[in-house]
Symmetry: C2
Subunit: 418 residues, 2 copies
Amino acid sequence: MADVKRRPSVVIIGGGFGGLYAARVLKRAPVDVTVVDRTNHHLFQPLLYQVATATLAPTEITAPIRWLLRKQRNTRVLLAEVTAIDVERRAIVCDDGMSISHDYLLVASGSRHSYFGHTEWERIAPGLKSIDDAIVMRQRLLLAFERAEKATSDAERKRLLTFVVIGGGPTGVELAGMLPLIARRTLPGEFRNIDTNEARVILLEGGPRVLPSFSENLSRHAKRELEELGVDVRLNSTVTNVERGAVSMGPERIESESIFWAAGNESSPLGRLLGAPLDRAGRVKVEADLSVPGHQDIFVAGDLAEMFTAGKRVPGVAPAAMQSGAHAARNILRVIDGRGTTPFRYRNKGDLATIGRHRAIAQLPALEVWGKPAWWLWLFVHIMYLAGFRNRLSVLIEWAYSYFTDQRGARLVSARGS
Amino acid sequence: MADVKRRPSVVIIGGGFGGLYAARVLKRAPVDVTVVDRTNHHLFQPLLYQVATATLAPTEITAPIRWLLRKQRNTRVLLAEVTAIDVERRAIVCDDGMSISHDYLLVASGSRHSYFGHTEWERIAPGLKSIDDAIVMRQRLLLAFERAEKATSDAERKRLLTFVVIGGGPTGVELAGMLPLIARRTLPGEFRNIDTNEARVILLEGGPRVLPSFSENLSRHAKRELEELGVDVRLNSTVTNVERGAVSMGPERIESESIFWAAGNESSPLGRLLGAPLDRAGRVKVEADLSVPGHQDIFVAGDLAEMFTAGKRVPGVAPAAMQSGAHAARNILRVIDGRGTTPFRYRNKGDLATIGRHRAIAQLPALEVWGKPAWWLWLFVHIMYLAGFRNRLSVLIEWAYSYFTDQRGARLVSARGS
């Protein structure tokens, strides 16, 4: 009996880019893999803003995790929310009471948007991380125009047609760039009491430039392209209060009923359950090989890990999550085989941010691109990376439809807000 | 001043088939039209069961009402829920306090599913009328398999994999026919702890046959086709209790965690606000010209109206709503012109019900069709009627995808259930 060797078990928390790419690395390995996620789907997060702005349907950027991993016979997928991690007993506990033991654990539960302590702002200014968030944002956005059509005073109408996006990172820029297109190209002609062209879009960035992770040159291009689209870009504008109907920056106050939050992230609360050191944003300070200090059986990848490459912090972007997830899985296999682990090194193939139709910026290893070429590059890269052939085709069709007609395919407001 | 003639105003409550077809009739008429709906979208209700069963996305069977009517310059669309109708003052009042006065009113607010007084059953056995309902049903259906995968006892697993559909009308038959396809063709291979082929689907019908609005011959065909798909069809089975985890028919009890309601409809509560006589299901007993008795300025169409043609009650189906909505609008124009109204006559071009892949029944004026030909006919008719070119294309692609791969394109479970 003692000779029967049980295959090591690997539990992966999170079916995002980190968890999915880790699971794929383990496909043919002699291990039993369990992927746990609190939703049934992998989310293609870089296109989430397109759901929030009614261009794509929620089902077009999601795919069931178990469908994506259906051919990996050594992998099971469970829908559950992890509530406790018992580092010593090597088990996780889920909200439904289920306990799953493991030999190796990879935590890749990502991040949420953060309100810097002002959790009461979330109700007023929704953020954008999950598919539910995107549907809430879409509902708010479409309802603003519906309510403006019924408004009884100019002040109310103006407040409803003022859209404020807080945060000048990629999500904020993408949202702010899409809004003028909707107001000026999609909706005109459908309303009788308002002129949707009068909608104002204001982007508030606390720092001195938008998209600060790009070069100053590209930031400047991005700002100019936003302004060409009609976005009022305000730099060095730190938000001091968010209330129903208004945003304040010190003494200045902007009246708006449509405030969207894209200003900050904090890591998933699961980092705290590991008992490991965390940085200020809640990221786990992992070893170079992505393991948790003192635990060669626990790894962290993606947005939840504070990772460095050549002394620079690895950004919280999709390629970093994919690479670190896959690397952590490879290191787990090395530990199993009794080989030494290897340090994670983020290979930055380039950063992309889209601003609006025909407008984007791209920072490649030896090249900076902006405008139309960058936009086509962005399009190509995102279609290539979309998980699963079916979604890719469907997204292509929606994009072609939007591109040629300026219509949006997903303008759904329901009574319950779903 | 007295010579300036104000154009008569027509208010239409409801943007379903009745309201939409009425608005279209008024397109070039010298009237001002207002369409009020509590959602922003027209819903193609005949395909709602395909959203509930994860085949189509919610956005594929909905289109913004204002987009559909954007070219009618005399028509405005308002998103609001009507809470009161002042018949004497000729005004409706909405939930946001807005009051809209009118010269003519058409109420086409449709119907809801009815639990025959047992409103507490709704929480356990959701029905299917709105897009929100369909999303709730999809969530329940997909979660049943997810929970079964985690079940710790055979009894729990069996309860989760037993799907009960209550009601053998078109919606119940469509749902019951789709469930075996999902369990036996879409999901196998994706689960590790359960065999989805073991899922049981039970259809409970209180009367002696399914689809009682069709001929006995077609009912028999429908029952046989359901049974060939693996559905356990139980006739003369009146449900006496629905509780969490079980359905009872007198002394018999079926344990199930997935109970879906398709047993009955009751009319929108707006009928009561008119102060007109109602039938037992809450339908307004309209005159032959669809006006409310004693009010030549108020009309009712669609599911909310009790209508007769050649002594037979007009069924609550989409073509009847379209025809009666258009007819009511034409009568409003006749009243405005000082001409006499004409009685509504339902022209039944045939009834269709689909049962599952390659299975349907069709009752045409001089012909009964079943099996494959009826299914292709069903497909053709539904594609023809789908509102808006874009949705039609998108639905076609989804259907082709499902047809050839047995996959479903919309298997989304979110944390919030949207």
